[in-house]
Structures are given as structure tokens and as C-alpha cells.
């Protein structure tokens, strides 16, 4: 399983954080991930509309586009986290994906709790470190 991109959107579906782990990042790939994030949002809305219970933050596999699979996770405040991975040969355990989401969630909480954090902009070196670490472990 190769992690390709992590994106965080706020309640209004505006991307506040986007990080891709491609070997050769290009203008085209950033645009591609932004496009994927937007299309996934529709799927999220659909899933949340007919959700049986809102207690599970993990939304599971949202869609597959070519060789990429996108997973979603909603925070209680309405923000969404999207994870793009390249489709693996072996079956991916949802527990592993869930764990990655939980690590991102924990980092996000620490970021929000920073008193110097300006509303809306996610700029934090600690959060970048966490995301880098995830990238290193899963995208290598």
C-alpha cells in the first residue's frame, strides 16, 4: 500500500491542507489531487446523508479512480480528511487505514489547540512533522 496524498478540507469543503507524497511532484499532480478531493466530497456528502449513525468517524473507501483509492474520515466539527493511496496488490486492512486517520486526527487536534493558530490556516511545523513521518512509513 503506497500512500499518495493526504488532504484536509474544512466544513465548507475548502481545502486547508494538502500534502502529496509523489516522487516527482508536479503542477499536474497537485491539480489532480485537488480534483480528486473535490469529487470525493460529493461521495462524502452522500455517505453522511444516509448514515445510520454518526458515531463512526471513519467513512471507509469512498471511490477508486484508476489506480488510486480514496478513503474518507470526518471529524466531529465537520472537517474532512481524505487519504489517497495507490491500489495495492494485496487486500488492505481497514484497521491500518483507520490507524493512519487516527494519527492524523491526533495531530490535527494538537494543531488546533495551539493558541497562536489563526483560524482557517493550517500552518504548523509539528503537524508537518507528523505528516512527514506518516509519509515516510507508508509511502516508502
Amino acid at each position: 500500500m503506497k500512500l499518495r496524498c493526504i488532504a484536509i478540507l474544512n466544513r465548507q469543503d475548502i481545502p486547508v491542507y494538502m500534502r502529496s507524497f509523489d516522487d516527482a511532484p508536479s503542477e499536474e499532480s497537485t491539480v489532480k489531487y485537488q480534483y480528486l478531493a473535490h469529487t470525493s466530497v460529493d461521495v462524502i456528502e452522500e455517505r453522511m446523508a444516509n448514515a445510520k449513525s454518526s458515531s463512526d468517524l471513519y467513512l471507509g473507501l469512498l471511490q477508486t479512480v484508476g489506480e488510486l483509492a480514496i478513503y474518507g474520515y470526518v471529524l466531529n466539527t465537520g472537517a474532512r480528511i481524505l487519504l489517497v493511496i495507490s491500489v495495492p496488490e494485496s487486500v488492505v486492512r481497514s484497521a491500518a487505514i483507520r490507524e493512519i486517520f487516527q494519527q492524523i486526527h491526533a495531530g490535527y487536534i494538537a494543531l488546533i489547540c495551539n493558541p497562536f493558530n489563526e483560524g482557517g490556516k493550517l500552518v504548523s511545523s509539528k503537524f508537518d512533522l507528523i505528516i512527514n513521518e506518516l509519509g515516510r512509513v507508508h509511502a516508502a
Binding site: 494538537a110 489547540c113 495551539n114 493558541p115 497562536f116 493558530n117 504548523s124 511545523s125 509539528k126
Partner: protein
């Protein structure tokens, strides 16, 4: 002597303290610092304000501490340092800094804080680091105010801080002189 202070501090923490939410305290302090930064726009002025606020807290806090622990008069400045670290900090922040770096004339020492609860979740923006903000400067004021109530005039300042990239946080306490029966001058 040291063991005695440590057990006094721990016992007072266990029995004579009402506990409150740590997160509430941390967030309140964080908002306070951010608001000061916005109001003054000059981080050295923020440092001074935090110190003043700490001073006002310290002059009252020391009576509270004395009421909860039945400590007798300190035998010397080194005993005072131990009381600050093992009883004062323990009672109010539940951390015990290390007392080190005594100067040759035993009038200055350092408190090394490995773990400052005020710093949880906090990340200083680059401008704050560049302009010299000491985030927990209120602690320096508290120590200064408390010692002044105990008839010691001191200068207390931060020298290192983990939020600014140093490996530990260090506060330097310097005894200027003993005050004998004088009313301490107010700060402003």
C-alpha cells in the same frame, strides 16, 4: 532537608489542593498571551506585562502556599530554592524543576523545567521567536513576587525555552538583596 521539602510538597499536593481542569487553564493562558500579543504588537512589551501579572499573582500566591504547608523559615537561600522547586511548583503546577547552576557566591541559581504544562500544544510563530517572546514569563513574575513577600529582592528571568528551540527551559533567579522590614515598592 531535601527529602523533607519533597514530601511536604507531595503531601500538600495530594491532600490540600483542589484540582481543576488542566486544559481550561492552558487554553486560558494561551488566549491571554495571544491577546496580549495582539494588543501590544511588541513582544518585549508582552514579556513585561506577563512579568507584572506574575508579580501580582506571586505576592498573593505565597500566602496561599504558606497556609497549606506548615513550613518554617528557610535557613538560607539554597533552602529557599528547594522550597520554590519542590513545594511551590509542585503545589501549583504539579511539576518539580531541578535546581542547578549555583553561582560562586550562592546568590544565583537556575531552575530547569523539563516539562512545563503551560507549553502543551503551543507553537510559537516565527515572529514571536525572532522578537524574543518568553511564553511562560508569568512564572518569572510569580517567583519574583513571592520572594519579595518573603523579604528578598530578586531578578528572575528566562534564559532558555523549549518553545524557542532550546533543549530545556531554564529560569535564572538572582538574589539582589534582602529587604529588612521595608514595604516593597509596587511595580508601576
Amino acid at each position: 532537608m531535601e527529602k523533607q521539602y519533597k514530601s511536604v510538597g507531595e503531601e500538600a499536593w495530594k491532600n490540600n489542593t483542589e484540582k481543576a481542569s488542566a486544559e481550561l487553564f492552558i487554553f486560558t493562558y494561551g488566549s491571554l498571551v495571544v491577546q496580549l500579543a495582539k494588543d501590544y504588537e511588541d513582544y518585549s512589551a508582552v514579556n513585561k506585562q506577563l512579568d507584572k501579572m506574575g508579580y501580582n499573582i506571586g505576592v498573593r500566591l505565597v500566602d496561599d502556599m504558606m497556609a497549606r504547608t506548615s513550613l518554617e523559615r528557610c535557613s538560607g537561600f539554597s533552602a529557599t530554592a528547594e522550597v520554590i522547586a519542590k513545594v511551590g511548583f509542585k503545589l501549583f503546577l504539579n511539576v518539580v524543576p531541578t535546581v542547578t547552576n549555583w553561582s560562586a557566591d550562592a546568590k544565583e541559581f537556575s531552575l530547569i523545567l523539563d516539562d512545563n504544562p503551560l507549553n502543551d500544544f503551543c507553537e510559537l510563530p516565527p515572529k514571536a521567536v525572532a522578537d524574543g517572546l518568553w511564553y511562560s514569563n508569568v512564572l518569572c513574575g510569580v517567583i519574583r513576587g513571592a520572594l519579595e513577600m518573603m523579604q528578598m529582592q530578586t531578578e528572575v528571568a528566562y534564559v532558555r525555552d523549549v518553545l524557542r528551540g532550546d533543549d530545556v527551559s531554564e529560569i535564572r533567579v538572582k538574589l539582589v538583596r534582602m529587604l529588612d522590614e521595608e514595604v516593597p515598592a509596587s511595580d508601576d
